[in-house]
């Protein structure tokens, strides 16, 4: 390295290292700002990214209902269609048998299904307690739990409502099940109209209480085995939910093909819950961007003020340097050099601390961990350098205007 550059670095570094109190304040301002920036960026990139991924795989986007007047379809149809879609396109599928039941003598809708498949399809459902681990355990909706005063670990009695002759009110499909807006009303009307005559009775344990804010809150989820035992009839599905990783026209085409290939069912694409949630994520992100801009402005003011104080403090030194032959350019380069180093050190500290902060916030608020993104870390350092350099510009302009003759004249 040429001796001039070496002395330049030596001057900048000793100015920072040997005049710590002031410099530490400026560096702290940069570091705190960079921490906030890095944390915000990490959270606003990583959390929505994870959420979006989960939401994309969450919830059904195609429903299978019995065609025509039929009240159910064969369980094998779900597997056949799942095979047709293939493992690449299929995120999850679950067939559900909805039946009207009495829970501790109150009428509700029971949903018999492969509960593991249902869990995979709805990973973000909030369950107090656990998903059922096997037969004899059920998941009950929050409304049901409240009405029958059941808690996790309690035992409840399930019994069938007697079917009337026509057979289309008692075991009537509750509309489109999980996603139908009127499913709950219909099913509740159905069960309340029905005669409370019981046939079989089963005692089951409540493993968890489900809270979705939707129709599911009024359902009881139990395994297909428990359901068959309760109905005393071979398993049949009233509805099947599919999550398929295609959207729009492609999905409609797929539904049409299924309709044609399987006349006993009718396939219909439905809107995902995730769509509206994606908008919320977008808004969350915009909010983060606005906060980041404010934080950047605050660092700028902080660093600028400190730099201003530093220049005032170093008037004599600047005058002296000019008297020794420093031209305006050297003065600018020296002070901007200090700004760059301040930004670099503060930025590196802040980028790392910011990731830690993002981790803490994410764990506490979003209950998930975030990943470190090299781009965010580098971006934070670059932004810190940029802002502290920019903030040094005004003070540096002032430094250039210092008149050596006045400074050296005396105290």
């Amino acid at each position: 390295m040429n001796p001039k550059r070496r002395l330049f670095i030596r001057m900048v570094m000793s100015s920072i290292l040997r005049r710590h109190s002031r410099v530490i304040v400026a560096m702290l301002a940069v570091a705190v700002g960079a921490t906030t920036l890095s944390a915000l960026a990490t959270i606003s990139v990583d959390v929505p990214r994870q959420m979006a991924r989960e939401m994309r795989s969450a919830g059904a986007n195609m429903l299978l209902t019995p065609a025509g007047d039929a009240t159910g379809f064969d369980v094998s149809v779900v597997e056949e269609i799942a095979d047709e879609v293939g493992p690449d396109g299929l995120v999850g599928a679950v067939g559900i048998d909805y039946e009207s039941v009495l829970v501790n003598d109150l009428p509700y809708v029971a949903a018999g299904a492969d509960l593991d498949a249902a869990h995979r399809l709805n990973p973000y459902w909030y369950v107090e307690g656990d998903w059922p681990a096997g037969t004899g355990q059920v998941l009950i909706g929050q409304d049901v739990a409240q009405a029958v005063d059941a808690h996790v670990g309690d035992s409840v009695t399930l019994s069938m409502l007697a079917k009337d002759d026509s057979g289309d009110s008692g075991s009537q499909t509750p509309g489109t099940g999980a996603t139908g807006e009127n499913g709950k009303e219909i099913s509740n009307q159905d069960v309340s109209q029905a005669e409370a005559a019981t046939s079989a009775e089963t005692a089951v344990t409540v493993s968890g209480i489900l809270e979705t804010g939707g129709n599911e809150d009024g359902f009881v989820y139990l395994s297909m085995e428990d359901m068959t035992e309760l109905t005393g009839e071979p398993p049949v599905f009233t509805v099947a939910e599919f999550s398929i990783s295609v959207e729009g026209d492609a999905l409609q085409q797929l539904a049409d093909r299924i309709d044609a290939d399987h006349p006993e069912v009718s396939a219909d694409p439905v809107a995902r819950l995730a769509q509206s949630d994606a908008d919320v994520l977008g808004m969350l992100r915009s909010l983060m961007v606005i906060i980041s801009v404010i934080v950047l402005a605050l660092i700028m003011i902080g660093v600028s003020t400190t730099m201003m104080a530093i220049v005032t403090e170093r008037r004599n030194e600047i005058g002296l340097r000019k008297a020794l032959g420093a031209d305006d350019r050297s003065i600018i380069v020296e002070f901007l050099g200090e700004g760059v180093v301040l930004g670099l050190i503060g930025g590196v500290i802040g980028a790392i601390a910011g990731f830690g902060l993002a981790q803490v916030i994410s764990l506490n608020v979003f209950h998930r961990t975030v990943e470190a993104h090299a781009l965010i870390l580098i971006g934070t350092v670059v932004a810190a350098i940029g802002v502290s350099t920019l903030a040094s510009l005004i003070p540096v302009r002032r430094a250039v205007d210092i008149d050596p003759a006045l400074v050296l004249r005396g105290e």
């Binding site: 001057m11 100015s15 030194e317 032959g325």
Partner: protein, 249 residues
């Protein structure tokens, strides 16, 4: 005395006016190459003002300043910086070192702006003022006398044509004063031009010529024996009045 080739510096009818205060009032002064000139005068008489103009840190309101064959009185700030860097070594009334740089680094700063920092050369300069051992000390770890010696080392590091010293010994004890003056003697012997502002009669007597300022005018010029540079006693002097008496207020 007005031989252009041997003149390093010539002030012609120079005035510096602040509002209605004439800090310098129609000053004429010529300094030959290699000459040692002492400037004396009461406080506020314009000594520092004159040094600043000669040192290219200030410009006269009126008059011309020829330095090394160039008229610097009309130079721009940038050109003045250039001339200052190339031709002048400055020693200030206060010690003026950069507080966060070591003695050695302070000397190297002058090299940095002049040409190329050279640690060996800078160390040699510190050695010359007897501070080789204190090279890595910060100014706050040096005594006033030592700090001023660092300033002297810094002023001569680039071998300037002219050294301007404003009260270089004003704050020094006798021992440090002697060290500084010895170095001035050596510089003079090497042919460097020296202009030294001082209140001290003994320091002033070291110069070949002593110029007295009062109210911005040169009121008296004393020519000392050339031998004066070596002796301890004030040398025999030859006083020349320069017409300041009738004009002086």
């Amino acid at each position: 005395m007005t031989n252009t080739t041997s003149d390093l510096l010539r002030l012609t009818d120079v005035s510096k006016i602040y509002g209605d205060l004439h800090a310098l009032d129609h000053v004429d002064l010529t300094v030959r190459r290699g000459e040692w000139v002492s400037i004396v005068g009461p406080s506020g008489s314009g000594k520092t003002t004159m040094m600043n103009i000669i040192g290219c840190m200030d410009q006269p309101t009126e008059g011309t300043v020829m330095l090394d064959g160039r008229d610097i009185s009309k130079f721009s700030g940038f050109d003045l910086t250039q001339v200052r860097r190339e031709t002048i070594g400055l020693i200030f009334q206060q010690f003026h070192l950069i507080p966060h740089l070591t003695a050695l680094e302070n000397v190297m700063v002058a090299q940095y702006y002049h040409s190329m920092p050279d640690e060996t050369e800078a160390l040699a300069a510190l050695d010359r003022v007897g501070l080789a051992e204190r090279a890595t000390h910060l100014p706050s770890q040096l005594s006033g006398g030592e700090q001023q010696r660092v300033c002297v080392a810094r002023a001569l590091i680039n071998s300037p044509k002219i050294v301007l010293a404003d009260e270089p010994t004003g704050n020094l004890d006798e021992k440090n004063e002697r060290i500084v003056l010895d170095i001035f003697g050596q510089l003079h012997a090497e042919g460097t031009t020296l202009i030294v502002v001082t209140h001290d009669a003994w320091v002033a007597s070291k110069g070949q010529r002593e110029v007295r300022l009062d109210h911005g005018r040169i009121v008296e010029t004393t020519v000392h024996d050339d031998a004066g540079a070596g002796g301890d006693e004030p040398a025999q002097s030859n006083v020349v009045m320069t017409g300041g008496t009738d004009q002086g207020e």
